[in-house]
Point group: C2
Chain length 565, copies 2
């Protein structure tokens, strides 16, 4: 790359990442998977929107020149390979073993039925299902079967965490089903890629490629796991930390990627399997995991997913009939598979529906699969678009549908109900009553009640029970008749106000918590979340140093534990 | 890149990173900067060694094909740009302001004198100093002046931390001198690059380039700093954490890099200046800093530094006369500059020597500068090699020389004196005396004393003072006549042995600490380090779960605080 290509290279990466992150965050804030926003960013910057509106700007930002294109490919290939390694690390093999029979039955039928449906549809109606004209019909049928039978582990994990079901029995079964689906799905797809490459006159015979793929997978799950587990403590003992382990992870991922690329399947399978072996070791520390996960998931993955939109014009290849068709057979297959499996193991209908809906989410994995199939000349662009939309829709609806079936609610959090309008950086009040009055006045316009009503209810409550919880925090609160949603006012006072805390220390942070009259549980959950948030003394010190609502919110968010992201 | 190029791409990256990390760790373990090992790795895999021994293997691993070369360039360019951003984050502007006059005087003379020497030498003897035949003599002279006047901030910081001098007055002065040198040096070099590009018929006039460079720098240090500081809490408040801030950092670095590449200086200056603005914000959290620092310093930076060795045959361009010449004028310049400055501000001769030696370390910055000058056609390959060797030698000798001048010693650490031979995973003893006997027997062959002598001395000491320090740890110890270096035996007992700890809880981890008779301070430091290491209850739980010496060592190392790496 020369001077001008380098300029564009950095600019394009910066703009692509910016758009991907912004839309990814927007998607998250609407409770959609981040990958949806990242794809949208690419579609906006790609031929579909920017290329159509201003072809000049588009080709200035993403020039056709070979240097630029190869540079971009190098970064996105590296990105997706490392991302699959992180996905592999998240796979927990021991969960599968622990769940045993139920998850084996569910994953078997949950893959077999969609696979059969996909295979038969594709085999008998290849043109309808957007096969590439030059594609081998059997390979295409194998591909569609695989594409319909996979399940997105990360999406399911995220939904379960959001619904507070991750550690439940059903949650663990779902996770292990998704893990098995992931492993088997990738292996199947690797075999298809092997078949394709061999027909394309590779140096290796077809049997050789498939044999090596299966051999590599088995070796990684046995000897590989053992060696990685034996190597990690030695690396931590004799190299700088965490650099030694970080380097080991990336080196292993790259070498495994190179190996699987060499045997004729795709680089990402190798990185994924190495990730599985690595993530299985009990010696891999949380901190190393976080550094890899955060840097790769927030930088490399968004760049990759956004770059997909640069390749194709979605509108030109938008076939509503095909999209609906793919969506229907995908969903029917998963629901049917789950239904049969649940009959066998004696689960209820509601469980069957929950499992069907959850495993129907295809997420990022489907998108990667579709892209590889497009690159391999197996499917046409219309089918590519249909698969991507299917992946997005199934992922988006899985959460709300499961929530409805389970009648489960996401536990309420303090930060959901804070507002800049009910934040007081410096309370004037010198005692309990004055402070409660101030906070009541700030929150009154938000909830639409008289300040005096609120004040009265809170002081009443305060009389029956002191609300200083210690550690310089007080939570005066009340349940209000006619209130439909909770509201919280937060005030800070440097001098401290006595709230009869058990530790005898005056409160510096006062939260006025209003909840609906009848929802006693909601109130409990909110108070518990507040107590948990302020458990840590450092959090309190940091809050006392903030000077604006935005700073406070940023502080509270970054204080949250990271296990849920 | 096609299938075979991608295979090689992943393989080459994996092998390069593997070699860079291994040699980097080796260098660290010998107390050399890691960059030395990383460069060595590249030289080994490059034309100098591998290319000479087996040209076939070399060209198979690093093929000449355009796709591969551009792919590698994309990754290393991205790597060095992000690395400079991290280097920028480490710059602490407030330190400069606090140190005031002393650091201003020292940095002024510490740059002016070497710059003048470099400029004059290069201007009057361009051929001797390896100017490229087509290089403009004034630009070449400006370059050599700059190359001799810079100072490696990271190397100095590392040495000061190792010598436990980072927070001392002299340490802070040295850091702020290095920061000023870094900033001014890069600015100077950016101007030279601007001059070069302009002569190469750029679209922008020379005045424009220089004006925009200075304008950009000033803007980043004022408005940029302000905007970044205002943006960070908002990003933390309204985006997922730490993804929002990570994305912001990388996006900002990339866009700034693109801008400076566009105005005709190098991309890395933009990333560096953005890093300075970012690192200056008090809202940037430690965790975000660590993720960026660790992933980039341990993955991208080693790849970049190792790739330097791939470009050039060191042996073919090894000119001993030039190397010695560059080394001498570089060192003389820094020592003289520091001498004059210290005269003015009234520092002692010893301080002047320490400062001269420290600021003489050129480190990674010099290597990057030399590479850019080579690429810009300013210097010949022999001079490139000489500058790299000068950078390495000045960095390596700075630590030991400063240590000698300051008569300062690195504080002793527990992990330096543990040995697998004196580690007992399961102590048999049921009381103090039995346990001390076991540990004495295991340590005896290591120190070369009779076990009974040791046992006697330790029990004697134990009688005068109980060594249970609480938190389930005991440190029986003794100073031994004739012992020259400390030795520590570590034993674990599940049942617990009473060592009269203040908390009354029996000890599960027992460390037998032997130190030389006369070095009372050494003993104190070691005991303090042990107490600090085991302060945390979690550490103890983890230790009780380890089952081998290697695991224990890995645990202890990864437990260390990260501020010192």
């Amino acid at each position: 790359m020369d001077h001008s290509e380098l300029t564009t290279f950095f600019l394009a990466l910066g703009v692509l990442l910016l758009a991907a992150r912004v839309f990814g965050e927007l998607a998250r804030s609407m409770n959609f998977p981040a990958v949806l926003g990242e794809l949208m960013a690419g579609i906006l910057l790609g031929p579909t929107i920017l290329g159509a509106l201003s072809p000049d700007l588009f080709s200035a930002l993403f020039p056709e020149s070979e240097g630029f294109q190869i540079g971009l490919q190098a970064v996105t290939s590296l990105g997706i390979t490392l991302f699959l390694m992180v996905a592999g690390i998240e796979v927990d093999l021991s969960t599968i073993l622990r769940q045993g029979r139920a998850s084996m039955v569910i994953s078997t039928f949950g893959m077999l039925i969609p696979f059969a449906i996909g295979f038969l549809c594709a085999y008998f109606f290849p043109v309808t299902f957007g096969a590439h004209e030059s594609a081998n019909p059997v390979y295409f049928a194998l591909f569609l079967g695989t594409a319909l039978s996979i399940t997105a582990l990360p999406v399911i994990a995220k939904i379960l965490i959001d619904l507070n079901m991750y550690r439940s029995d059903l949650g663990m079964i779902l996770i292990s089903v998704a893990v098995i689906n992931d492993l088997v799905g990738w292996l199947l797809f690797a075999v298809i890629l092997g078949l394709l490459h061999t027909t394309a006159a590779q140096s290796m015979s077809i049997g050789m490629t498939i044999g090596m793929t299966i051999g590599f997978t088995l070796l990684m799950l046995t000897l590989g796991r053992f060696l990685v587990n034996a190597a990690l403590p030695r690396i931590q003992a004799y190299t700088s930390w965490p650099g030694g382990v970080l380097g080991f992870a990336v080196i292993g991922g790259l070498l495994a990627a190179s190996f699987t690329e060499w045997i004729g399947i795709h680089s990402i399978l190798g990185a994924f399997m190495f990730g599985v072996a690595l993530g299985d070791s009990k010696h891999l520390r949380e901190k190393t995991r976080h550094i890899l996960d955060h840097f790769i998931s927030f930088i490399f993955a968004p760049l990759f997913f956004a770059s997909i939109g640069l390749r194709i014009n979605i509108l030109d290849n938008f076939n509503p009939f095909l999209i609906v068709l793919v969506l229907v057979i995908a969903t029917v297959g998963k629901l049917l598979g789950s239904h049969i499996a649940c009959k066998i193991i004696g689960f209820t209908k509601r469980d069957s529906l929950t499992i069907g809906m959850a495993t129907n989410a295809r997420g990022a994995m489907e998108i990667i699969l579709a892209l590889l199939a497009l690159e391999a000349g197996l499917i046409q662009e219309e089918m590519f678009v249909a698969l991507i939309i299917m992946a997005i829709v199934t992922s988006i609806v899985a959460g709300p549908l499961m929530q409805r079936v389970m009648r489960h609610k996401r536990p309420p959090r303090l930060i959901d109900f804070l507002s800049s309008r009910s934040y007081i950086a410096n309370l004037d009040g010198l005692d309990k009553d004055e402070v409660i009055r101030e906070l009541s006045q700030s929150i009154a316009p938000i909830v639409g009640f008289e300040a005096s009503t609120i004040e009265h209810a809170v002081i009443e409550r305060e009389r029956s029970m002191a609300t200083g919880i210690g550690n310089k925090v007080a939570i005066p609160h009340a349940r209000i008749e006619g209130l439909t949603t909770p509201a919280i006012a937060l005030g800070i006072t440097r001098q401290g106000v006595d709230f009869d805390a058990p530790d005898g220390v005056p409160a510096n942070v006062i939260l006025l918590v209003l909840t609906p009259r009848d929802d006693f549980q909601l109130q409990l959950q909110l108070l518990a979340d507040i107590a948990r948030t302020f458990r840590n003394e450092k959090t309190l010190d940091r809050i006392l140093q903030t000077s604006s609502f935005v700073e406070l919110l940023g502080m509270l968010r970054s204080e949250e534990t990271q296990g849920t992201s």
